[in-house]
Amino acid sequence: MSLISRKFAHLKAQGKKALIPFITAGDPIPEITVDLMHDLVAAGADLIELGVPFSDPMADGPVIQRASERALEYHVSLRDVLDMVSQFRQLDIETPVILMGYLNPIEVMGYEHFADRAADAGVDGLLIVDIPPEEGEELQRIFKAQSIDQIFLVAPTSTPDRIQRICDVSGGFVYYVSVKGVTGANHLDLSSMEHKLAEIRSRTDLPVGVGFGIKDAQTAAAVSRLADAVVVGSALVSRIEALADEPEKIGASLREVISSMRQAMDKVD
């Protein structure tokens, strides 16, 4: 069983839902990313999604685009991101780490080479935004061989056939994108989400996470009533942006949001 699956099983046994923060590696400066990861865990994060900076983040809204741009000012590469994960692993071997990004940096490194290095570094899951299951067969085989879970998105536009296909190839959990739009959008529609989650659950036993549009403790709690995991991105990244010139204050600020979300989620019965 992968670390991600074990984490979900463990949470389920405790009657808890997973809280998954997203930050972009290297934002606003590369030196603090690993510390921020530990801060997130200390404040109640169960898994961490680490964004790999890309020059053309087509599926991201302005907040996460600018995070990529800040990291790229320091030329943070896929190799650097893997180094950050190895460093994180020196102190934490329990929190699953998922890399989230776009295909091109992985293509350039080479699929096999990347998978080897990611496994060595301690990466547990991978979410590549711009590769649907149809284009990813080779990658799926390679990641499977390294026991890296490949996580796929299900969207409000996904048909039942597509949902089935995605569930069949997903590992770790299934990630439901709660809105039509880019990251940071904020028009969460809980009733259509409920409907779609039921559709997904009818096709897989994997846990289902929800992301895009979760901005505070209240929405996190509301979503955690329906889903197994709550992914929070832009709400954290905009705090990082606001403190980009005072990076020493970012850790405390992220801890504050994450622990308020944690509390609100754990209160839900």
């Binding site: 295909l103 992985i106 935004v129 711009d130």
Partner: protein, 404 residues
């Protein structure tokens, strides 16, 4: 690799692959809308009424067929092959781009989409989109990089006159690739009522095939016209390549004629050796961007790098996947000419033939003039004159220290 079989009609495959290139590399939200588009496109391209409407629009609104003109004086001065020009500059709105927007806008209307969006670099595709939107009464939003808005301000004003909203894109390098990113983000957000008109043979399937099919009118007409006017087909075709739509439009109907040599001309900017260019086929590597796998300009980490060309319409770090395939297969040759060479050709055609070409098209002219001198006077080069140079007056004047 030598090609012996016929190519026309065999590519792309069902999921948009041209060999290892093309495909569908988008986020899940767009998979179903793209499937819907593919199905609608296949349906209407077999629908006689749709095709009749398209033909009428191309004839009476765009002004097709565009003429082919024998540039006799220029050919004579060069002293080599005869240069013929396919006059896409004479189309309504001044470039080949309108062939595609007329087709896609018609499709949008038949699909019941009332809002269209487009990306633009030089502004030609934006103008062509705003034009058809005005005519069909559709809402139109055009994304344009903030840098391009400055260098193509006349086209920005034209789009606004036509009723389009031009949105400045401030992210990334603030040029065409970023405008495409932003248009994709709009589409993913407003996919229910919005049709995204991509302006070149890039993007996810079915765009590269669909835009090629709409632009292939160029080559189909040329085949008939050349027989008429020269008594035979040309020995060589030359077209500039930004995303590659005017080029594939001319090339595609000729792909199975092995006797016809094919040259796509990329922008070498300040010179390939300087790194400041926009020539992914000549100097890039395969990768994935904007929904397809193709040759890209990227750094060692897989980040897309900034391009440079004097012509905004060629300033794109990728290229249509079919060109990537044509390059690898050896069926087409890809070359590059610098800003200075393109400018020289711009002036030559203007002075010698009384035709002011777009800076994009001037790249094709520059290469054709080199190629001509290596050929005999009884041989023929057909150049795609993809657009007129009116939009470039400021750029050329500024280069010469004149402020208009």
């Amino acid at each position: 690799m030598a090609i012996t079989e016929n190519i026309i009609g065999t590519l792309p495959d069902e999921r948009g692959h041209f060999g290892p290139y093309g495909g569908l590399f988008v986020s899940e939200t767009l998979m179903e809308p793209l499937e819907e588009l593919r199905a609608a496109y296949n349906h209407y391209m077999a629908d006689e009424n749709f095709l009749k409407e398209l033909d009428e629009d191309l004839a009476n609104y765009v002004g097709r067929p565009s003429p082919i003109y024998h540039a006799r004086r220029w050919s004579e001065q060069l002293g080599g092959a005869q240069i013929y020009l396919k006059r896409e500059d004479l189309n309504h709105t001044g470039a080949h781009k309108v062939n595609n927007t007329v087709g896609q806008a018609l499709l949008a209307r038949h699909m019941g989409k009332r809002r269209i969006i487009a990306e633009t670099g030089a502004g030609q595709h934006g103008v062509a989109s705003a034009t058809v939107a005005a005519r069909l009464g559709l809402e139109c939003v055009v994304y344009m990089g903030a840098v391009d808005i400055i260098r193509q301000e006349a086209n920005v004003y034209r789009m606004r006159l036509l009723g389009a909203e031009v949105r400045a894109v401030e992210s990334g390098s603030k040029t065409l690739k970023d405008a495409l990113n932003e248009a994709m983000r709009d589409w993913v957000t407003n996919v229910d009522n919005t049709f995204y008109i991509i302006g070149t043979v890039a993007g996810p399937h079915p765009y590269p095939a669909m835009v090629r099919d709409f632009q292939s009118i160029i080559g189909r007409e040329a085949r008939t016209q050349m027989l008429h006017q020269a008594g035979r087909q040309p020995d060589a075709l030359v077209a500039c390549v930004g995303g590659g739509s005017n080029a594939i439009g001319l090339f595609y109907p000729y792909l199975d004629d092995q006797a016809v040599a094919i040259y796509g001309v990329e922008a070498a900017g300040n010179g390939l050796e300087t790194g400041q260019h926009a020539a992914p086929l000549c100097a890039g590597k395969p990768g994935v961007l904007h929904g397809n796998r193709t040759y890209l300009m990227e750094d060692a980490d897989g980040q897309i790098i900034e391009t440079h060309s004097i012509s905004a319409g060629l300033d794109y770090p990728g290229v249509g996947p079919e060109h990537a395939w044509l390059k690898d297969s050896g069926r087409a040759n890809y070359v590059a000419v610098t800003d200075d060479q393109a400018l020289a050709a711009f002036h030559d055609l203007t002075r010698i033939e009384g035709i002011i070409p777009a800076l994009e098209s001037s790249h094709a002219l520059a290469y054709a003039s080199q190629l001509a001198t290596t050929m005999r006077p009884d041989q023929i080069i057909l150049v795609n004159l993809s657009g007129r140079g009116d939009k470039d007056m400021h750029t050329v004047a500024a280069r010469e220290g004149i402020h208009l």
